[in-house]
Symmetry: C2
Subunit: 298 residues, 2 copies
């Protein structure tokens, strides 16, 4: 039984926390941002007034927050985690945030005698509920060894990629590949449809060859069947590509296709698509072509 602080009990964080509770761990939450859900209190979650108080009660502090500034505020703001950390505690940031800021956060946490792991996930709400998240970890191996039993309660494909920041870097790399493969499948199926071919048959013919990918399988089908309910919302993928492009600028890496994919997401949002599934990136291409993948071949 470990005392675990869990800050960020939202759509992702709450089912993740429930797996930890179900395994017998004692969870500590903060009501500084909003009240803790009564169902969690009934399950024994201890409620504290601030992240500092959560940290003071915990051996491991997990964060699952929307973006870089949220993590910075919870860690280093007034009454933040850093002010309450026990010596030897482990901070585990499972949010998807800037790899560059992460290295700075890790350094500042280690200065206070604690360890830091960046451990962003992929797999979305479905993966969080099913405890099947992919978890990409950066940080010291000793800290990883101490919490990997907790990771195993929340995910399946768990990799220690390297030092601090490398987990977030891997997540950004994942989001680059996913967005650009959606663009690839979108351009190809739209081209095929406009040329008069049946996109469903084209997709079928391409599966199993060098064009095959999870995205062709899952998102290609969404483009053909027009099932654009999320899934993974465009607004979230925009945030991730923003991390890629900002970090790329800071590092000196040009990412031309990532930049174009972001512009296509921006065009979707301009047409009311912030809440569409990210496979709906194809709709921006369809606007340019005046033709949809699913239209009857000419």
């Amino acid at each position: 039984m470990t005392d675990i602080g869990f800050i960020g009990l939202g759509i992702m964080g709450r089912p993740m926390a429930e797996h930890l509770i179900a395994a017998g761990h004692r969870l500590h939450a903060s009501r500084h941002h909003k009240p803790v859900a009564p169902e969690l209190i009934e399950k024994g979650v201890a409620v504290h007034a601030t992240p500092k108080a959560v940290a003071a009660a915990s051996e491991v502090v997990i964060l699952m927050l929307p973006d870089t500034p949220d993590v910075e505020a919870v860690l280093f703001g007034a009454d933040g985690v850093a002010d309450g950390l026990k010596a030897g505690a482990v901070v585990v940031d499972m949010s998807s945030i800037s790899p560059m800021a992460t290295k700075d956060f890790a350094r500042r946490i280690e200065e206070r005698g604690a360890s830091y792991l960046d451990a962003p996930v992929s797999g979305g709400e479905v993966g969080a509920k099913a405890a099947s998240l992919t978890i990409m970890v950066g940080g010291p191996e000793a800290a990883f060894d101490r919490v990997k039993g907790l990771f195993a309660l929340m995910g399946k494909n768990i990799t220690l990629v390297g030092g601090n920041g490398d987990g977030q870097t891997t997540k950004v790399a994942n989001q680059i590949i996913v967005a650009l493969t959606i663009a690839a499948v979108g351009e190809a199926l739209l081209f095929a449809s406009k040329a008069g071919a049946d996109p469903a048959k084209v997709r079928q013919a391409l599966m199993g060859g060098f064009a095959s990918s999870r995205i062709l399988e899952v998102h290609g089908e969404r483009m053909i069947k027009r099932t654009f309910d999320p899934g993974f919302r465009i607004a979230l993928h925009q945030k991730d590509l923003n991390l890629a492009l900002q970090s790329g600028r800071a590092l000196g890496v040009a990412l031309p296709n990532t930049a174009t994919a972001q512009e296509l997401f921006n065009a979707c949002v301009a047409h009311g698509g912030a809440g569409w599934d990210h496979s709906a990136m194809v709709r921006a291409l369809e606007l340019l072509a005046g033709h949809a993948v699913a239209e009857t071949p000419r």
Copy 2:
């Protein structure tokens, strides 16, 4: 035993033709472009002076040529296939050429009382030798039924996608997806490496998730191990993306990521890379970043 004309006995065509000979078919070749290899003549290939003479001796005429103008010249030039075709013959173009021109060629062949199939392949020289090509077919079902036994001697994944042109359209779609997935993996691994992560570990962490693809598996490894011997040459993929962009312009489909991928291939060629494997597209990104995927993380 079928009399089969085979025009284009090059790197791809020759091993394909040899599979047909091995199965007992009688092959007819033309020496109008260059002499037929003595080894093929020893195996019983009949040599004719012109494509017209080849067509006059054949029930099925297969073409495996570099580009659209080559196919047009062999079919409709002086002493071309169209002038010699038997009534009821089937012309099978296995080259990778323009989908739009293909529809025109098919119409003109059908006017002469023969059938036309476009049947481009993927799988390269390795697939041609192993008789494991993917074959994407467009044209009338009756013609497909007549020659599918021949396709089965040359390939494995054989799909009748739709009417004439749809085979070529599918091949173009395949090449769009492959090029853009190479760009995706290239941008992601270069970003990861420049951010200080080990690209080999990042690739490993991403396999099995939503970023997974044959390209991440095969070409991602090439980028890390720097094995840029073809494989599939950039000059050939440039030809295919040129078909995509030309057809896109004619059809009214904007393909922004395909256009960028072509520019990255162009940059490789400017640096002597026409003969590099297409996974070396990452080298153009590396030039922009002043950093290579395989460099030691900082």
